[in-house]
């Protein structure tokens, strides 16, 4: 009897060992037997990023921080406040800034409750004029370039015209696509060396006109205000290519070891003593951002003087490979 029990136990052990051998699953790497995981990869979140935007501190405003809250678009960097039409909303956030210095600040569409003959969209973008490869040095030239290089599918409705919105000068132009029956109204102004553009598009021109009227309520920095680019108070003056020539007293170039072939546009704020106070990477891999940050610690600039007093300067530097400049005509015709 005892022998039978032992045999039975032995057989049982053997069978269970076999079963273990066949079904035991590894953990780690590509293997897991955790079929009721506590931790899951969150949905709708980009955890693995390529070249992306970042900044040396989270206090100094950057352009991409603009957002729509309570039906109002606000962007502290540009000093913009834009109360949206009722029931309009930002359903989807824009992409990160590009390595050519383009921002999608907001993309706004009517909510589900909108009632009208046609929908529309409001796209607010900014182009950092330090980094554009297009042959334009300011917002007006950028608009002219766009107009001069419209694709054949589009027809001009209104050539670039100077106007004022919120007390600030804007360049406005309009075009449409006869085949799509879509109209685009584009208004652009230069703020802090960026061409800030508001692009309205719809099939319904009355709706577009009403949106244009609504834009008059938009708050933007006055022409002479520090935020407009002239600097003053907490806002630096923006100067293209300040980080060059005699302005640079000491410079150590960053060494890229991992990622080397992408454009890395960087905006910096130089304090009154000529040290780098703030770094904004429009598009950089983390290893590049670190190399540039380490290098900037050793940079020293000649302080920028206004009325013989030093003021803070905001400028841009392109590391890595810049984009090839476009050819074309940005002049007024």
């Amino acid at each position: 009897m005892r022998c039978v029990v032992l045999r039975f136990l032995g057989l049982g052990l053997f069978v269970s060992f076999l079963a273990w051998g066949q079904s035991a699953q590894r953990n780690g790497g590509d293997f897991s037997n955790d079929t009721h995981p506590v931790t899951k990869v969150p949905t709708g979140v980009i955890l693995v990023k390529g070249a992306w935007s970042s900044a040396s501190d989270s206090v100094t405003p950057v352009p991409e921080d603009g957002s729509v809250t309570n039906n109002v678009f606000r962007d502290q960097y540009f000093g913009m406040t834009y109360a949206l039409p009722r029931d309009w909303t930002e359903k989807y956030k824009g992409p990160p800034p590009s390595d050519s210095g383009r921002y999608v600040l907001a993309q706004i569409t009517p909510g589900d409750s909108f009632k009208g003959p046609a929908r529309a969209s409001i796209l607010i973008t900014a182009q950092d004029m330090f980094f554009t490869p297009l042959p334009a040095t300011n917002a007006q030239e950028l608009i002219n370039y766009t107009k001069n290089n419209l694709q054949a599918d589009y027809k001009l409705e209104l050539p670039p015209t100077q106007t004022r919105i919120g007390g600030r000068p804007f360049t406005f132009f309009a075009y449409w696509s006869p085949v799509a029956e879509l109209h685009w109204y584009v208004a652009a102004s230069e703020i802090r060396c960026h061409a800030v553009e508001i692009v309205l598009s719809s099939r319904d021109t009355k709706l577009l006109e009403s949106l244009m009227l609504d834009m008059s309520k938009m708050e933007v920095p006055a022409e002479a205000s520090p935020t407009a680019g002239t600097g003053g108070g907490d806002v630096p003056v923006c100067i293209k290519d300040y980080a060059s020539g005699e302005n640079v007293i000491a410079r150590v170039d960053p060494v890229f070891t991992e990622h080397r072939f992408n454009p890395v546009p960087v905006r910096i704020i130089i304090d009154k003593e000529g040290k780098v106070k703030h770094i904004h990477f429009l598009s950089a891999f983390p290893d590049q951002a670190k190399a540039i940050t380490d290098a900037f610690k050793q940079w020293k600039f000649k302080p920028y003087l206004r009325d013989r007093k030093p003021v803070e300067v905001e400028t841009g530097i392109m590391f890595g490979r810049g984009l090839r400049p476009a050819t074309g005509n940005a002049s007024v015709e």
Binding site: Q25, R26, N27, G28, G29, D30, F31, S32, N33, D34, T35, H36, P37, T39, K40, V41, P42, G44, V45, I46, L47, V48, K49, G50, A51, W52, Y92, K93, G94, P95, P96, S98, D99, S100, V104, Q107, T109, R119, A120, S121, L123, T125, T132, P133, L134, T146, N149, D153, Y154, V179, A180, L182, V186, F261, N262, F285, R321, L323, R324, A326
Partner: protein
């Protein structure tokens, strides 16, 4: 009387509903008429490459064994997604993308993969797929979002095959990965016209990129680069591969497990060499050198004849892809009716007008002078792609980084041949063009504004775009 009135009301409502359905735009679906896709681009052949195309096509159709193949097609595994290039690249012709009947569905339990189970995401008529885990598992089996993985987790093993000796391997933990939301998929990219894309020089692409920046849709874009020489890479869903040679060599190694002159070792799973704390130190010794002839399993054949036979398989595959003609456009049938040429032309105009062509550029340029065949020289590349990578937002993001492309960046998928593709987007999640277009909109996507423009069109205009797309 009341009953009659009710019936009339119901009838009227039903008619309204049906009328509404008729108005909604419809994807014409996969166009079945032969368009001649899969032919060679070679018309004149002063250098004698046509036999290389034909030889490459034959090898593309070869079925690989682990060892002892009577036709000497050895080297499969020890892990693989399929055993034949053309089993995955077959729709609508050899060199294309996944077919209506998924060959992977029949592998498990058959002589191809006798000990394996069919992963839950492989179905008889679903997309042919590869799988990746964006993140490694920890030693306790939990997912570690701080440890990115992203490599291909081959679906099958050679375990139990009569030509694989004692090699016994565990399949990756697909079910656990699903539970942890740690799995993404890719479908095969078609390679028609790939030789033209390969022969676009960087200057052309860079010029096209800058021209495209002149748009009011919020679109920018970037290029992926080869990490060694810094030139623009262009093949694969994230434009991570530089050339057709590298593309073929990597696929032979990763998808079929065949080591070759470009990738000379058998490939373990991404974590099979210890990453994530599995305790593994690579493939077990009894799963190595399964052919018994050493490495690489695919080599050149110096003493073979004719000339094309001297090449290794990878070079032959590259030649086949290089000399495949771009997919011809063709007529479109919608609900049994032929769509008019004017409708398709209107759709093409709309496609450009609303901004789709900013990325899906009909012709990003013409090719540089080719040393292979005249047909690859100075030829327009009507790929409907800028070959750039774009942020596509959270809805399409897969949290896999390849080269310089991040988890939400994808190459603009070339749309040539779209009319005869079954499964759409990088993971084959839909067969419907409407759904594929809709998926372009999302948090962080560069295409949101353009998709909004599509929504702003009339239903007839939207239909014209769909008809046009199925003509490609």
């Amino acid at each position: 009387m009341i009953k009659t009135a009710k019936r009339a009301t119901v009838f009227a409502l039903a008619m309204l509903f049906l009328a509404g359905m008729a108005l909604a735009q419809t994807d014409p679906g996969v166009q079945s008429a032969s368009r001649g896709t899969g032919a060679t681009i070679i018309t004149t052949d002063p250098n004698g490459f046509l036999p290389f195309f034909q030889d490459g096509q034959n090898r593309f159709n070869d079925i690989e064994s682990v060892s002892n193949s009577p036709s000497n097609n050895n080297g499969l595994g020890p892990r693989f997604n399929s055993n034949q290039c053309s089993s995955c690249h077959s729709q609508p012709a050899v060199g294309g993308t996944g077919a209506a009947v998924n060959p992977q569905f029949s592998f498990a339990g058959s002589p191809v993969a006798p000990k394996d189970s069919t992963p839950y995401f492989i179905t008889a008529n679903g997309p042919t797929r590869e799988a990746r885990f964006p993140f490694f598992f920890n030693a306790n089996g939990g997912v570690n979002t701080g440890n990115p993985n992203g490599g291909v987790e081959d679906l099958f093993t050679v375990s139990g095959r009569s030509d694989a000796g004692s090699c016994s391997l565990q399949q990756p933990s697909f079910n656990a990965a699903e539970q942890a939301n740690d799995i993404i998929f890719r479908i095969p990219t078609p390679v028609f016209g790939a030789g033209l894309i390969e022969n676009l020089d960087d200057s052309t692409l860079l010029k096209n990129q800058v021209n495209n920046l002149n748009n009011n849709f919020g679109i920018a874009g970037a290029f992926n680069h080869n990490g060694n020489d810094g030139t623009i890479s262009r093949f694969g869903w994230k434009a991570q591969n530089k050339s057709l040679h590298i593309f073929a060599g990597e696929a032979y190694n990763v998808e079929m497990g065949v080591s070759n002159e470009l990738f000379p070792q058998d490939r373990p799973l991404p974590g099979e060499d210890g990453n994530g704390g599995s305790g593994l130190t690579g493939l077990p010794s009894n799963c190595l050198n399964l052919t018994g002839t050493g490495y690489p399993e695919d080599t050149s054949n110096p003493t073979s004849t004719p000339q094309a036979a001297v090449l290794d398989d990878v070079s032959a595959f590259a030649n086949f892809m290089r000399f495949l003609a771009p997919p011809p456009t063709g007529g479109v049938v919608l609900n049994g009716q032929q769509v008019s040429a004017s409708t398709i032309a209107a759709g093409a105009s709309l496609f450009t007008a609303i901004g789709c062509a900013t990325c899906h550029n009909s012709t990003p340029g013409t090719t540089q002078v080719s040393n292979f065949v005249p047909a690859l020289s100075g030829a327009p590349v009507n790929a409907f792609s800028d070959i750039e990578i774009h942020h596509m937002g959270t809805g399409l993001a897969d949290n896999v980084s390849q080269g310089g492309a991040g988890g939400d960046q994808f190459r603009t998928a070339p749309l040539w041949g779209l009319g005869q593709r079954i499964f759409l987007l990088h993971d084959g999640r839909t067969t419907n063009l409407n759904a594929a277009i809709e998926a372009h909109q999302g948090h962080g996507s560069e295409a949101t504004n353009v998709e909004e423009n599509f929504d702003n069109l009339s239903q007839q205009q939207q239909q014209e775009i769909l008809d046009f797309l199925r003509s490609l």
